[in-house]
Every structure is written in structure tokens, then in C-alpha cells.
């Protein structure tokens, strides 16, 4: 591989290029946009907690800063390291998920957390980048002509289904679906033939109703039903959706003004510091604020896609696109939920919602993307 234009294209780093040179070569547009989104989060958490810094805004600020450092650190690490770590990371993720099965902490009826003494972790969050790493590696190694073969499909399916089953058992329907969709997208991008896609769709249309009937807990079914008919239980689960829509709708075009949201002040929208934080944006900054936020997200996604296009290796491309997919799905599900288009599944709005693990996972993901882009000139081996 020959370095293009003499500037750093990974070739230098392959022979141990300078750290400052690498830092200079990082695509700074992405961290900038991510930082802006993080600050939007700090501002909105500040509003959601009635202007008390220590109720979350400050922590979020620190986490965004720390996440930024993690992102840069991850970005600077050679893509080959990540390539080699793909399967081990996946394995660690699986082990932690199995650990949750046995020694997990129960919160609100779900067992999702592992307590390490000094910190608590949600292995399912860790699994999100890990599964992308594993699938990217898998398809990188798999010759193209075997992508649509039974053996090739089966490998991907096993990689995907193991963590899905474990997460569904916690139970965490939102993350399971997110993981499934991310996996499907990566498989799709890897070049699976349309014929297989056709069969799979057919299968899904039969399997999903069956899964709904037998695979979901009653409360999970309830959420789906409530989504389909919000008037069913006005004080129960759909209360979230109704109040959320009232907050957004009453914001109008220009919003009620920063710290002036009455739905927020009255604490009508539960969880508006975490999953429902978009209602605060919509109520206090109106359509303008909402569209600007969506625009920011679109910009981040566009930059990510652009990064993927510049990558040459299959692993890098799939890694960037897979992580972008996860990020995008977070946004879709969360906004869809807040606006009453998707069931309430408890997915945060990345970078804006309060919550440490998610911030770290998402920013670590961006670090991986940046690393893939930074080291796009390096050729990765193919062991398949």
C-alpha cells in the first residue's frame, strides 16, 4: 500500500508515527459535533432538573469531557489492535452478560447491571459496539461469495443471537431490538443477496408474531399494545406518551423559553432527565429547537457515513457503518417514542440523555470510528 499525497495516511503510524501528527490527522469535525451535542445535553439536563447543577448537569458535563478523552484515546489506537480485539471484546461482553444472568443487580424488575465494586456497568451497553466489532471482523474475513451461503449466514446468526437471547432475558426488549437491527444492517451491508433478504423477510413476518406471543413478558407486550392504542390506559403506560406529546405540542414553533416549560415544572413528563429529555427541548425551544437538534444528529451521521466511504478495508467500513447504525437507531427509537410513533422501550437519546454508561459507550464508538478513519491507509489481514 502506498501512502497518498505524502501526508499521513496511516502508513506512518504503521511504523510508529508521532502522536501529535495523528492528533492532527483526526477528523475533528466529528468530535466537535459530538461535543456540541453533549453541551446541548448539559443544558437540557440543567433545565430538566430545575436549574440545579448537581442533579445531573454537572455530572453529564464531566462525563462528556471524560468521554471525549476516551474517544480520542480509542481513536489513536491502531485499527489493527481493534481488529485483533474484535472477537475477544465480543467474548468479554458475552461473559459479562452471562455474569448478569447469575450475579446481576436488579433494578425496577430487570436485571441489567453488574457491580464491580468501584463502578456499575451495563454489559448490554458494552455489547453494542462489541457486536459490531465482531460482525465487522467476521465479514471482513469471510470471502464475498460465501456471504449468502448457509455456513456464512449461520456464523453471523450465532454471533448475533447469543447476546440477544441473554439481553432479552434480563429483560431488555429495547436493547435486544437495537442489537438485532444493528446486526441485520451489518449483514445487509456485508452484501447478503437479495434472495436471502426476501426469504428472511418472509420468515420474520411469521416469526415476529410468534415471538411476540411467546417471547415477551406481559409488561413488554403491554407496552406494545399501549403504543398501538394509547387510549387504552390513560393513567398507566400511555401516560408517558400522552404527557410527552402535550409537552412537545404545547411548545409550538418557538417554545415556551428556556426554563419556562410548564409541563416540565409540573413534573408531568416522567424521566425527562433521561429517556424523555427531548420533551424538554421541544417544550422550551419548540419546533426550532427540535429541528436543530435533529439537524445536529443528521450532521453527525452524515460525517460518520462520509468517514466510512473513505475507509478501504471491509472491517473499517462495516465497523463505522455498524456503529453509526446503532447511534442512529438510538435516535430513531428515542424520538419515535417521545413523539408517540414508537412504543416506550426505554432507549436514551444519545449524548443528551443523562446516563454514564451510554455516554461512554457512544463516545467509545465514535472513537472506534475515528480510529478506523485515521488508520484507513493500513491494510488489514484476511484470515478467512
Amino acid at each position: 500500500m502506498v501512502a497518498r499525497g505524502g501526508s499521513f495516511q496511516g502508513a506512518v503510524s504503521a511504523s510508529g508515527g508521532s502522536l501529535t501528527g495523528k492528533l492532527y490527522e483526526i477528523n475533528w469535525l466529528l468530535p466537535t459535533l459530538v461535543g456540541v451535542l453533549g453541551l446541548v445535553g448539559v443544558t437540557m439536563i440543567f433545565a430538566a432538573t430545575d436549574g440545579v447543577w448537581r442533579y445531573g448537569a454537572f455530572q453529564h458535563f464531566v462525563r462528556i469531557g471524560f468521554g471525549g478523552l476516551v474517544m480520542l484515546a480509542v481513536a489513536l489506537i491502531d485499527i489493527r489492535v481493534w481488529y485483533r480485539l474484535a472477537y475477544p471484546a465480543y467474548a468479554v461482553g458475552l461473559i459479562m452478560l452471562i455474569g448478569v444472568e447469575f450475579v446481576g443487580l436488579e433494578v425496577n424488575g430487570s436485571v441489567r447491571w453488574l457491580d464491580f465494586g468501584f463502578t456499575r456497568l451495563q454489559p448490554s451497553e458494552f455489547m453494542k459496539p462489541a457486536i459490531v466489532l465482531a460482525l465487522a471482523r467476521y465479514y471482513h474475513d469471510l470471502p464475498a461469495h460465501r456471504v449468502s451461503h448457509v455456513a456464512g449466514l449461520l456464523g453471523a446468526l450465532i454471533l448475533l443471537i447469543l447476546p440477544m437471547v441473554l439481553i432479552l432475558r434480563q429483560p431488555d426488549l429495547g436493547t435486544t431490538l437495537l442489537l438485532a437491527t444493528t446486526g441485520v444492517v451489518v449483514v445487509f451491508l456485508a452484501g447478503i443477496s437479495w434472495r436471502v433478504i426476501g426469504f428472511a423477510s418472509l420468515f420474520a413476518s411469521v416469526a415476529i408474531p410468534l415471538f411476540f406471543k411467546f417471547g415477551l413478558k406481559p409488561y413488554q407486550q403491554e407496552r406494545v399494545w399501549t403504543y398501538l392504542d394509547p387510549a387504552r390506559d390513560p393513567s398507566g403506560a400511555s401516560y408517558h406518551i400522552t404527557q410527552s406529546k402535550i409537552a412537545l405540542g404545547s411548545g409550538g414553533v418557538n417554545g415556551k423559553g428556556f426554563m419556562r416549560g410548564t409541563q416540565r415544572q409540573g413534573e408531568y413528563v416522567p424521566e425527562n432527565r433521561t429517556d424523555f429529555i427531548f420533551t424538554v427541548i421541544g417544550e422550551e425551544f419548540g419546533l426550532v429547537g427540535g429541528l436543530l437538534t435533529i439537524g445536529l444528529y443528521m450532521a453527525v451521521i452524515a460525517v460518520c457515513i462520509w468517514l466510512s466511504l473513505q475507509c478501504k478495508e471491509m472491517f473499517s467500513k462495516l465497523l463505522v457503518l455498524g456503529l453509526t447504525t446503532t447511534f442512529t437507531l438510538y435516535i430513531f427509537i428515542n424520538l419515535g417514542m417521545v413523539m408517540g410513533l414508537a412504543p416506550v422501550v426505554g432507549v436514551p437519546l444519545p449524548l443528551i440523555s443523562y446516563g454514564g454508561t451510554v455516554v461512554l459507550a457512544v463516545m467509545g464508538g465514535f472513537g472506534l470510528m475515528l480510529s478506523a478513519h485515521l488508520h484507513r491507509g493500513i491494510e488489514l489481514p484476511r484470515t478467512g
Partner: protein
């Protein structure tokens, strides 16, 4: 590895193509989200703004202040005072039991109270404030307020409570207030009634004038959060609660108090009975008293079982309004009725005398006069002055019971009056048909004889006796009693007796009180102070027998009242009016088991009539005779 490179090339294009497909899909989804946001925030914004306001604003009901009840001079008889109380809003705490425990450590809650609090909590929606402690004194209230942070769900408030300051002498008239019962709520759709802290009139004037006293509820716009806690208030003078109107009674508080004092005895507590003083011209009641009294404040603050038991087991029945609901034989006070009936019938010459030998035989029955040895020759005037029973036995046979009953009715007996408070009874004016209906047996002449001295079937209340006397004194109008100033009253019907006959009756009544030998004679009936000296009255005593007297007892001597158990003593009755020449007030008094009418009831009546005249200033005016001014 050329194959690998070409492989890579193919992959790259494929991935790019598929990225484009997904990218387009993603833009589509974002488009949908943006469109949804537009729909919510622009197209439906107005609806959601309304919903948001509905969320945000609640209308709290404001309770109106209850109107006061005053006497004719404005003395408050029922008024409102600051009432410190604790209420609990159950939805604000998950530890109702613990909170109540803590409250009772500072201010004890009895097991019975606690039971009713817990029942209220169960039966009402969780946001409705439930009364925990009422009428808390200031020290306890401040102590509880200091601890409020440790009492989740408890709210302290200074509300309005009802107080009856006049020592209970108005308890029967005023009644009391209490929480609306299920029946009250069904009969009245005012939402105020459903408020657990709201009180309505239960009996007496409080109940009768409820509509006037209640006022109307107001609304307070409040901003609330999702848990119902008030964040801000938006008071609006337009929607304030309207205070109830005051009700003024015709009663005179001090006179009523004075009358009550007259019932006191040295050794047996308050006597039992009723007294009613009425304005002869207007029918306004100046005194409407039933004795003994009870403290209506107890009913407001919550009666304990022992209070209840004490009241129910008292033979003097304090709760019972004897002035309007106590039916007693009017005894000799009924003789004016018989007299007037005799004169009106034209069958009796008042100057014609009847010889009283102490008894009168009718068939195989003997009717006794109260005076065993007899009165001798009596004309009509003397018969009333001496209360000779024999005379009335004699003439009643000639005029007949129906003529007597007709006059009784025209004088206001046997009728229950609408004096706005409920509970008045009509008493009994017996006639032949009445007996036929009531007992299914025919009228006997003996019944007429008994009725002629106000015994037997005749029953009247102190109020009716006062009205009867007022009509006799008024001459022209059939005066109707009234209690509430401004109460709509029909025009008085003409009484339609021959004024000469009425004057004769009045003169005879005057002889009872003002001629030596009259059964209630006093030289200065109201005392000798200048304001009332020389004012003359007229009246009639009555001694209502409550037991049969056997022939054996008559032979050995009738036992004196003082020697009898209280329950068997005669009722002491008196009616009268004053001043004799220009009648102003009439009175009807009954003292249960008070002995002879010439004693207890006459004493009380004289005192109360005299005090009424003093307070009215009438005595003074009459003392100023024109000559003194010259």
C-alpha cells in the same frame, strides 16, 4: 493477491451502494420524525397548549364563610371563629398509620376518632383532604406545625368553625351544623356538600335558614404539578366564595338568658319546661326557650359517647324543644277558651251564678273542683278569678265541645305554626269527630267536662298558649308567631270575636292577677322599680294533672306535690299579658312537674314579662304620665 484486491473492489462498491440505500432510508425516517414534530408543534399546537393548561391549572373549591345568626339587637348567637385543624391528604404519604401515630403523640387521637379517620380515607378519593383534628388549641397547633416536616401528608390550616357563644340557651332554636349526610347530598346538588370539611345546618334555624346562611362556593385557579401539589395560586376577585347572609332573629338574647335563669332551682338543678314570650301586635317571638339546655358547641366539635348517654338518660330531656314540641294539658288556662265560647254562643249569661259545692255529679261519675270545700256561688268572672272547675263543668255541658273546639282553634290552639324552624307540633283540640277518628268511640259528656278545664285529651305547647293569649290581648288580629326577621308572613286574619266578649275575658284575667283573691294576685307583679311600677297584667294559672287521684286518696287527703316523686308532680302552667290596658307582650309558660300554676310558672312569667317590659322601655314611657311633663 489479485483475487483479494478485486474481491475488495467489488465489496467496496457493494457496500457503498447499500450504504446509499440505508442512508436514503435514514433520511426518510428523519423526515418522518421532522414531519411528526411539525404536526405536533404547529398543526396541533393549539390543542396541546389547551391540554397543557388543563394539566397545569386546577380549580380548587373555595368554601364560603357561613352567615351569622343574630338576635334582634345584633347580638351574635351563632358566629364563626378561627378553627385550627389538621387535614390529611392521603395521596401525599404512603405511611398513613405512622403519620397518625406521630400526630397522636402530640395531640391524642382516640381509637374511635382514628377509626372514623381511616374510614374517611378509605371512602374518599386519595386527593380529598380528610379532617384529622378539629378545634385544635393554639399551643397544640404550633407544636404540630413545628413537627409538620415529620408528618407527611398532613396539612395544617386555619379554617372557620361555628361557635354558639350564648351558653346554650339558644341551642333548641339555633340547632347545630354538621357534615352533610348521604341523604343531604342526594337532596341538594350543591357540590359544597361533598367537601369533607364543609358543614351544613342539621336542625333549628341553622337548617331552616341554610340557603341564606350557606353562601356560595368560589373557585381558586391554582397551578399544580403532576402530584397535585400546588405550585402557584392565581386568585381572582370575580370567583371568590360568597359569604352567606346573616340571619336576624326576633329573639332578645338577654331576655332569653334572663328567662333561663328563672328556671334555676336551689336543689334540683334547672327546672324542665318551656317559655314563650310573644309580641301581641306583631307576633314576633322575644323568647323561645326550652329548659334545660344543652351546649350546641358539643355537636359541632363532635359529641362523645358519654355526652350522648348523659343527654339521653336525663329525665328532663334537654335535647327536646319543649317550647314548640312539648304537648301538655293546658289545664285551667283553657278556661278562657270555654269562657269565650260561652259568650260567643249567647247561651250563657255571664252574670248568672253557678253553685260550687266542690264537686259535680254526672251520671254515676263525680267531677271534683280543685277546691274540695267548694267555691260557693260563682259568676263567670269569679269562676275564672278563682279558677272554679265546677262552673266550667256546668256551662260546658250547655255550649258543647264543638263550640269550645271552634273557639280554641280560632285562638290558635291545635295548629302548628311555620316559625321557620321545624319540630312544632299541633297539639290536640278534641272534638266529637276527632275522638271517633282517633279512638273509634263516641264522645261522652264526661269528655266535655274534662276538656272544659283543659284536661283529658287537650294538649298545647307553650308557644300555642302564648299565641292564644296574644290573640285574646290583641282583640282584632289572629296574630301569628314569627322567629326570623324578614320571614315572609301572611297577613293576620281578623280574629272576628265580639270585642266586648274579649274585653270581658281580659277583665276576668286581670282579676286573676290583680284583684286580691285571684289565684295569681300580686300587688306589684313586676316589682316596685320605677320603670315597671304600676303596670298591671292579666293572666291565668293552670295546674296540669299528670296522675289519677283515687277516691281513697281524696278521702284521706290529697298528697301534696312536694311529697310526690318528681315524675308525678303536676305541671305548672301560666299564661298572661301586659300591660293590661295596652297589651304589648303575651307569655306562655310550662314548668314540667312544677306544682301549682300559681307558683312556679306564674313566678317565672311575671319575672320574664317584667324584664321584657323593662328592656322594651315601655314601662318607662307609661311612667311618664302627661302631667309630669307639664
Amino acid at each position: 493477491m489479485p483475487s483479494t484486491i478485486s474481491q475488495n473492489k467489488i465489496d467496496k462498491n457493494l457496500v457503498t451502494r447499500r450504504t446509499a440505500i440505508l442512508g436514503a432510508g435514514g433520511v426518510g425516517v428523519f423526515g418522518v420524525l421532522g414531519a411528526r414534530l411539525y404536526q405536533l408543534q404547529v398543526l396541533q399546537a393549539e390543542d396541546y397548549r389547551t391540554l397543557s393548561d388543563n394539566n397545569r391549572f386546577n380549580f380548587n373549591m373555595l368554601l364560603p364563610e357561613r352567615g351569622e345568626i343574630k338576635d334582634r339587637f345584633g347580638v351574635p348567637l351563632a358566629r364563626n371563629r378561627q378553627n385550627f385543624r389538621l387535614v390529611m391528604i392521603p395521596e401525599r404519604t404512603s405511611e398513613i398509620g405512622k403519620t397518625l401515630d406521630r400526630v397522636s403523640r402530640i395531640s391524642p387521637i382516640s381509637p374511635r376518632q382514628r377509626e372514623s379517620i381511616e374510614k374517611d380515607i378509605r371512602q374518599n378519593p386519595k386527593f380529598v383532604p380528610i379532617l384529622v383534628k378539629d378545634n385544635v388549641d393554639w399551643e397544640t397547633f404550633t407544636a404540630l406545625n413545628m413537627q409538620l416536616h415529620a408528618l407527611p401528608g398532613i396539612v395544617s390550616e386555619a379554617g372557620q368553625g361555628r361557635a354558639y357563644p350564648e351558653n346554650g340557651v339558644f341551642s333548641h332554636v339555633l340547632g347545630y351544623i354538621g357534615r352533610a349526610s348521604q341523604k343531604d347530598i342526594e337532596g341538594d346538588d350543591d357540590p359544597l356538600l361533598k367537601q369533607p370539611t364543609f358543614r351544613i345546618g342539621k336542625t333549628g334555624v341553622e337548617a331552616a335558614e341554610e340557603k341564606t346562611l350557606r353562601g356560595s362556593s368560589g373557585k381558586l385557579k391554582v397551578e399544580v404539578n403532576a402530584r397535585g401539589r400546588i405550585v402557584r395560586e392565581w386568585p381572582d376577585p370575580e370567583t371568590r366564595a360568597k359569604r352567606g347572609k346573616d340571619v336576624w332573629l326576633t329573639l332578645d338574647a338577654e331576655l332569653q338568658e334572663f328567662a333561663a335563669k328563672q328556671f334555676a332551682t336551689e336543689d334540683e338543678g334547672d327546672d324542665s319546661g318551656g317559655v314563650c314570650l310573644i309580641d301581641v301586635l306583631t307576633g314576633e317571638l322575644r323568647t323561645l326557650l326550652s329548659m334545660p339546655t344543652f351546649d350546641a358547641n358539643l355537636f359541632v366539635s363532635g359529641l362523645t359517647q358519654s355526652d350522648m348517654d348523659r343527654m339521653n338518660s336525663d329525665p328532663k330531656r334537654p335535647q327536646y324543644n319543649k317550647a314548640i314540641a312539648g304537648g301538655y294539658p293546658p289545664a285551667s288556662t283553657y278556661k278562657m277558651v270555654v269562657m269565650l265560647a260561652a259568650l260567643e254562643s249567647g247561651l250563657i249569661d255571664p252574670r248568672k251564678t253557678v253553685f260550687c259545692s266542690g264537686k259535680l255529679r254526672l251520671g254515676n261519675r263525680t267531677f271534683h273542683c280543685w277546691k274540695r270545700q267548694g267555691h260557693g256561688k260563682m259568676d263567670m268572672r269569679d269562676a275564672l278569678k278563682n279558677s272554679c272547675d265546677t262552673y266550667f263543668y256546668d256551662i260546658s255541658q250547655i255550649i258543647g265541645i264543638d263550640a269550645i273546639a271552634g273557639v280554641a282553634r280560632r285562638l290558635g290552639l291545635g295548629e302548628s305554626y311555620d316559625i321557620s324552624i321545624g319540630g312544632s307540633i299541633s297539639g290536640i283540640v278534641p272534638t266529637e269527630s276527632w275522638k271517633q277518628q282517633r279512638f273509634g268511640t263516641g264522645w261522652r259528656m264526661g269528655d266535655t267536662l274534662n276538656a272544659s278545664i283543659g284536661q283529658g285529651f287537650v294538649l298545647a305547647t307553650p308557644l300555642q298558649l302564648a299565641v292564644m293569649t296574644a290573640r285574646i290581648a290583641n282583640t282584632q288580629d289572629a296574630v301569628l308567631p314569627n322567629l326570623v326577621i324578614g320571614q315572609s308572613l301572611p297577613n293576620f286574619e281578623p280574629l272576628d270575636f265580639n270585642p266586648v266578649h274579649l274585653a270581658y275575658v281580659r277583665d276576668a284575667m286581670w282579676s286573676v292577677t290583680s284583684e286580691p283573691g285571684g289565684t295569681a294576685y300580686r300587688q306589684n307583679p313586676f316589682g316596685t322599680d320605677t320603670t315597671v311600677k304600676g303596670i298591671e297584667m292579666a293572666g291565668k294559672t293552670g295546674t296540669g294533672q299528670v296522675r289519677g287521684i283515687s277516691a281513697a286518696e281524696r278521702a284521706t287527703g290529697i298528697r301534696k306535690n312536694e311529697k310526690l316523686p318528681w315524675k308525678l308532680r303536676d305541671h305548672s302552667i301560666f299564661v298572661g299579658f301586659a300591660p293590661y290596658d295596652r297589651p304589648r307582650f303575651a307569655i306562655g309558660t310550662i314548668v314540667e312537674h312544677g306544682g301549682s300554676g300559681s307558683k312556679r310558672a306564674a313566678d317565672i312569667s311575671r319575672a320574664v314579662l317584667g324584664e321584657a317590659l323593662r328592656r322594651d322601655g315601655l314601662g318607662q314611657a307609661s311612667a311618664l304620665d302627661p302631667g309630669a311633663l307639664r
